[in-house]
């Protein structure tokens, strides 16, 4: 009863791997975009802002389809990726990570942007006059002060990735032990006669993982903000 089946273990590990890959790979870009939106003025800023938020508003299936069209083996970017690096995204777990990252990106950027906007730019000025070049100012003042927001963004994006369904199933399909993450496994069980028992177990597992992630992030966030406040 309490031990996990092979299928469950596989789905959990795959989900964690997909979500972690999605978050880690998109974090640098997320920080960059959040910084651009929070601190810079440039033509097309509103366009970038809209583009970043698009996955939040679009039906996930649309995002999945767009990914398939562009990143699929016959898509422009997908073909280039395969020819140049031998990377295939469509119908692989890496593709699932890409789908998750795209869907979670707006949440990540919003959280980081908010924390960047709350940083007093006068502290950065102070660091600048003390001899730190703009890059070092960013690394030694901006980034540490934005840490709570970055952590929030990471947690939100991780949670969103764990739950990603629509874009994933459209882009990389529902392939056992390759792209069948927790939600997809649940979907399969629900559609299988007699799968209710297994579905219920997956629901419980999902809830436990979500609670654990939430508790961990709370704990971390408290520690970090206590340290920042001195």
């Amino acid at each position: 009863m309490w031990s996990l089946t092979e299928l469950e273990t596989e789905a959990i590990l795959l989900s964690l791997r997909v979500a972690a890959t999605a978050v880690i790979a998109s974090l640098p870009l997320g920080i960059l975009v959040a910084w651009l939106l929070a601190r810079c003025r440039f033509p097309g800023k509103e366009l970038l802002n809209g583009l970043v938020h698009l996955p939040l508003i679009l039906p996930p299936v649309v995002v999945g389809y767009l990914l398939l069209v562009t990143l699929g083996r016959n898509g422009t970017v997908g073909a280039w990726l395969f020819d140049a690096f031998g990377i295939t995204l469509a119908f692989t777990w890496k593709g699932a990570a890409v789908a998750s990252a795209v869907m979670a990106f707006p949440l990540m950027v919003r959280a980081i942007r908010l924390s960047l906007e709350s940083i007093d730019p006068r502290l950065e000025q102070a660091a600048w006059t003390l001899g730190a070049s703009p890059r070092w100012v960013f690394a030694t003042v901006t980034l540490p002060l934005a840490l709570p927001g970055i952590l929030t963004g990471v947690i939100l994006a991780f949670a969103r990735s764990l739950g990603e369904f629509g874009a994933t199933i459209t882009f990389v399909s529902n392939i056992p032990s390759e792209t069948r993450t927790l939600p997809l496994a649940l979907f399969s069980l629900v559609n299988t006669p007699g799968g209710e028992q297994g579905a219920l177990r997956l629901v419980m597992i999902s809830i436990v993982i979500a609670m654990l992630a939430l508790a961990a992030s709370e704990l971390l966030a408290r520690r970090i903000s206590a340290r920042l406040r001195g």
């Binding site: 000025q125 920042l228 001195g230």
Partner: protein, 373 residues
């Protein structure tokens, strides 16, 4: 110090609708940039620091050109090596006091480091604070750490933007002696923004007066403060001369202190300063009366003989007279007296000084006016 002026600035800068037109040169020591709020003092400091790019002009510190629009030079702030002490401290909240202090050191080449950590900690008495976080510091402590942080970046010049403005009287008195030690012991040129004439007289060597974005006056403090022809600065501070004095000795019988200056000796209520200590006092124009004959039977202790060198413009019933008593002092008298005494330039007069404003340096209290009658 090299032979170059510590600060040379000749710039035109625009801050929205506000225009700053600054042109001055100042030597070593502490340059006080003085003016009412909104006159562009902070803007000027920001231009020097490189935080705001002027439209045109030239800025050089200790002979090193930092900005020159003609030669297309504009060093970014991190290459200027100016220590900036902000009005609000701006300590990094995520770092301890120790890490705040050393923040600027690592960016300076070893050969350019002229400040020693232990010495600065000792000078500013920061030892007990090192492991604390900025949030746990009092206002005065924060400013001391901010000064230390700027110093440890081994700057060519220390910029201080009203570092005392956010402090109460007690905290101010706590910081002032430290700023004097920087000026005197480290021999670091300092540009000090202030709107307090007491701070300026106490700390300054050179005075730059800003009014509505223009530098209206620049020179040694005694010289500038004895000008009576500057209508722009009339409202900035109460007219009065700044006089350099040295503690000559104490008179224990009457509890007085003798202050020697170029025109003789001033007697003031006892100051707790060692013989030989140098300080600057202010003699306000309204505390000086003039007499054609040596007054006798007066309670005024300080009577100095001198000569009228300049007659100022009339404002209402009053006018200012500049008298040379060995150094220039200003007397504010009524127009009626001026006519009745038939005063004119070159005339010999006696100046009766009713009060001398002394800024006590012991750090136990702020500015105290001593009345001598």
């Amino acid at each position: 110090m090299t032979g170059n002026a510590a600060i040379e600035a000749d710039i035109v800068a625009r801050f929205g609708p506000f225009r700053l037109n600054a042109n001055f040169a100042a030597g070593a020591g502490l340059t006080a940039i003085f003016g009412p709020s909104g006159c562009g003092k902070t803007s000027l400091i920001n231009v020097l620091a490189g935080l705001h790019k002027p439209e045109s002009g030239r800025v050089a510190i200790d002979g090193k050109v930092l900005f020159d629009s003609a030669r297309n030079i504009n060093l970014p702030p991190h290459r200027r090596r100016l220590g900036y002490v902000f009005q609000d401290g701006r300590l990094f909240p995520h770092l301890t006091v120790h890490s705040n202090l050393t923040y600027g050191t690592r960016w300076v080449a070893k050969s350019d480091r002229h400040q020693d950590f232990d010495h600065v900690v000792e000078l500013l008495n920061l030892g007990p604070l090192l492991t604390r976080r900025p949030r746990k510091l009092s206002g005065g402590e924060k400013q001391r750490v901010a000064i230390g942080r700027a110093l440890l970046a081994s700057p060519r010049l220390l910029l201080m933007d009203e570092p005392l403005a956010s402090l109460d009287v007690v905290q101010k008195a706590e910081i002032l002696p430290f700023i004097e030690r920087l000026r005197d012991e480290l021999r670091l040129p300092i540009a000090f923004v202030s709107h307090s004439v007491e701070e300026v007289v106490r700390l300054g060597d050179t005075l730059v007066i800003l009014s509505e974005g223009n530098t209206v006056e620049c020179g040694p403090i005694e010289e500038v403060m004895s000008r009576i022809d500057l209508p722009q600065v009339a409202d900035l501070y109460e007219a009065g001369a700044a006089v350099r004095v040295m503690v000559e000795g104490h008179d224990d019988t009457f509890g007085l202190t003798r202050l020697a200056f170029t025109g003789g000796t001033l007697l003031v209520p006892r100051l707790e300063r060692a013989t030989g200590a140098r300080l600057r006092v202010r003699i306000r124009a309204r505390d000086v009366a003039l007499s054609l004959a040596r007054p006798t039977g007066t309670s005024v202790l300080n009577v100095l003989d001198g000569r009228i060198v300049e007659i100022g413009k009339v404002s209402g019933s009053l006018m200012d007279i500049l008298v040379d008593v060995g150094c220039p002092i200003i007397a504010r008298i009524t127009r009626k007296s001026f006519h009745e005494l038939e005063l004119h330039c070159g005339q010999k007069v006696f100046a009766m000084i009713k009060a001398v404003a002394v800024d006590r340096s012991s750090g136990d209290s702020a500015n105290v006016t001593k009345i001598i009658s």
